[in-house]
């Protein structure tokens, strides 16, 4: 991978013979065990490891669920109930898989916000960040197709609404949706191909994760100070320090995950998805899974079909441009007093967007009551519109301007200095860089 020389010395004759033919143990030693890692990483840096574990859990539970599932419109719904009632431990495997998707997204959102706060997308980590955005996009596609497979009402209508987004494309829209469906509506061919792709894409994700880690190991970890590693004193070997720290965080996260699986397995889903898909009746209220809600709110905020679709995809694609939209040279939000406040505003804005995507557009915000159309009212739609505007404002105006206007705090001379200053505050603060 990168230029970190490994100290690997084959110990046995066999190890030596093998090493000369495939130096994989050399790579493990250099890239996994001895990999020099900043010594000040906090627990937000454990989510990469947590995500790797979640991907593995999703693949393992998914492969075994596929052994009992039937991807046909007449049998899909029943086969899921068969998994729940007849298959040995089937209920647990399915709940692990369904809630695993939610846990995967919780972890990925924390991981992404971590990157945003500490400026992990800035030079030289732009490619690392962009591979991450690609991983997130494919994760979303994979989760969407997986949600269609139980063939409940929300599966069907979610699939119909999302695939119909492509019909907004001028000229080719209808041909594209027909191609996606394999018919004139979401039907058996659609279910079949979604199953096939839902099985394929996690392995594509695994490949991208390898590229993500490769890119990480070329440039090295960012860290809470955002100051680059300057000497060997700033780093410690990945193992045992971070293998143990990651393992501890993974266990805590798995406890949180298990609490959902065993005590509230359906809380994050929708009851109506236990009703079999009916192409003739749309449920009174269609909402996507919680992890898509902010984007759904953005889609609904624009009163024009094509405009809404462009805004929704734009809100994700804009992340690819983030390394160039943020003009500040200082990476970590810890040393950017104004950015820090805007960062938290942005997080809150994303959460409110999620709420805005959850209710009927013309109801009063956070209520089930329909708003009076003749009077001004704070509806789900209006809140969505305000927050959508702020979302784009953050990326297109606030971040580029802040880098030019803000005066950052003095940076520590090195990671070691920052660590020592924390344990011994009397140490003089030496500005650097």
């Amino acid at each position: 991978m990168s230029g970190h020389a490994s100290n690997y010395q084959p110990k046995s004759a066999f190890a030596k013979w093998f090493h000369e033919r495939l130096p994989i143990m050399d790579m493990v030693q250099g890239q996994v065990l001895d990999f020099p890692t900043p010594k000040n990483l906090n627990y937000f840096w454990t989510f990469g490891g947590i995500l790797a574990v979640m991907l593995l859990i999703q693949i393992v539970t998914g492969v075994v669920l596929a052994m009992h599932y039937t991807p046909h419109v007449d049998m899909a719904f029943d086969s899921v109930e068969h998994i729940m009632r007849d298959v040995n431990s089937g209920w647990m495997l399915r709940y692990m898989h369904a809630n695993g998707a939610s846990m995967f997204f919780i972890a990925v959102y924390i991981h992404m916000f971590r990157g945003m706060y500490y400026g992990s997308y800035k030079a030289p980590r732009e490619v690392l960040w962009m591979i991450g955005v690609l991983i997130y996009l494919i994760m979303m596609a994979t989760a969407f197709m997986g949600y269609v497979l139980p063939w409940g009402q929300m599966s069907f209508w979610g699939a119909k609404v999302i695939t119909n987004l492509f019909s907004a494309i001028p000229f080719f829209g209808d041909s594209i949706t027909t191609l996606l469906w394999g018919g004139y509506s979401v039907d058996n061919p659609t279910l079949n191909r979604f199953f096939s792709l839902h099985y394929l894409l996690p392995f594509v994700l695994a490949g991208l994760v390898i590229l993500h880690i490769w890119a990480l190991h070329v440039v090295g970890n960012n860290n809470p100070t955002g100051v680059s590693v300057k000497s060997a004193q700033d780093t410690i070997p990945f193992s045992p320090y971070y293998t143990v720290k990651d393992a501890f965080a993974i266990v805590v996260f798995l406890m949180f995950y298990a609490a959902w699986v065993f005590f509230s397995p359906n809380y994050l889903g929708h009851a109506i998805n236990y009703q079999e898909a009916n192409p003739l009746v749309t449920p009174a209220h269609i909402v996507p899974e919680w992890y898509y809600l902010p984007f759904y709110a953005i889609l609904r905020a624009i009163p024009d079909k094509l405009g809404g679709v462009i805004a929704m995809f734009g809100s994700i694609l804009i992340l690819f441009a983030l390394p160039w939209l943020d003009t500040s040279k200082v990476r970590s939000g810890n040393y950017r007093p104004i950015f820090k406040q805007f960062f938290w505003l942005f997080v809150i804005n994303c959460i409110i967007l999620g709420f805005a995507g959850s209710g009927a557009p013309d109801n009063y915000f956070l209520s089930h009551e329909a708003a009076n159309p003749d009077k001004w009212a704070l509806t789900y739609k209006l809140v969505g519109q305000i927050c959508t505007a702020y979302y784009f404002l953050h990326f297109l105006v606030i971040l580029p301007l802040l880098g030019l206007l803000e005066t950052p705090k003095p940076l520590p001379a090195s990671i070691s200095d920052a660590v020592l200053a924390r344990s011994n505050p009397s140490t003089a603060h030496v500005p650097a860089e």
């Binding site: 119909k160 003739l280 024009d304 079909k305």
Partner: protein
């Protein structure tokens, strides 16, 4: 690029480009079956038409049938609904086109152009919202004919709030087009074939 003979186009450059071009065409040809297999197959295309007897549909009643996997609304409209639809000025319409597969594409969305054979009492249209494909709810919305506490005609889409009038034309909300009218023909006075 150091010597003059390399800067010129020569036989080898031509062969490189020609080989590359033939290879690209070959790749495109080989990719096509893998893309085209996703299009509707013969068994889907075979389910192309259905016949429906309209006689049992009473005035003011609406039935929904399934055609090509999608709902089709067949509504026996009241005189008041037909009148309400014909009174709307074309300039008030969000989508001025008839969206009637039985008429030329450019025909305007008059009340008469939304049906076939002048039989304005029977409105036959796809029950698929032109926004994102949900099924609109009948006898709902601001453009229904109101008699006392009951609404007649008019459709409201529960997903994103699009509203259609008594001729299924989009009047409000995010949907861009009028509800589409499928190809259909009267086999007899009360029998139609869709598709």
């Amino acid at each position: 690029m150091s010597t003059a003979e390399h800067a010129e186009t020569n036989r080898r450059d031509f062969l490189y480009i020609a080989t590359g071009a033939v290879g690209a065409v070959g790749v495109a040809l080989a990719a096509w079956p893998f893309i085209n297999q996703m299009n509707p197959d013969a068994s889907v295309l075979a389910l192309a038409s259905v016949e429906i007897d309209l006689a049992p549909v009473a005035e003011g009643q609406e039935i929904t049938i399934k055609w090509r996997g999608n709902p089709v609304f067949i509504r026996h409209r009241l005189a008041a609904e037909i009148e309400a639809a014909s009174k709307v000025a074309l300039t008030d319409l969000k989508d001025p086109l008839a969206r009637n597969a039985n008429l030329p594409d450019a025909d305007p969305a008059t009340g008469e152009n939304r049906v076939v054979g002048g039989k304005e009492q029977f409105l036959v249209m796809m029950g698929v919202c032109t926004h994102l494909g949900c099924v609109p709810i009948g006898n709902e919305g601001e453009f229904a004919v109101v008699e006392g506490n009951t609404k007649h005609g008019g459709w409201f889409c529960p997903c994103h709030g699009s509203q259609y009038d008594t001729a299924g034309r989009i009047r409000k909300g995010p949907a861009p087009e009028n509800l589409h009218i499928p190809q259909y023909a009267y086999l007899s006075d009360t029998k139609i074939r869709i598709g």
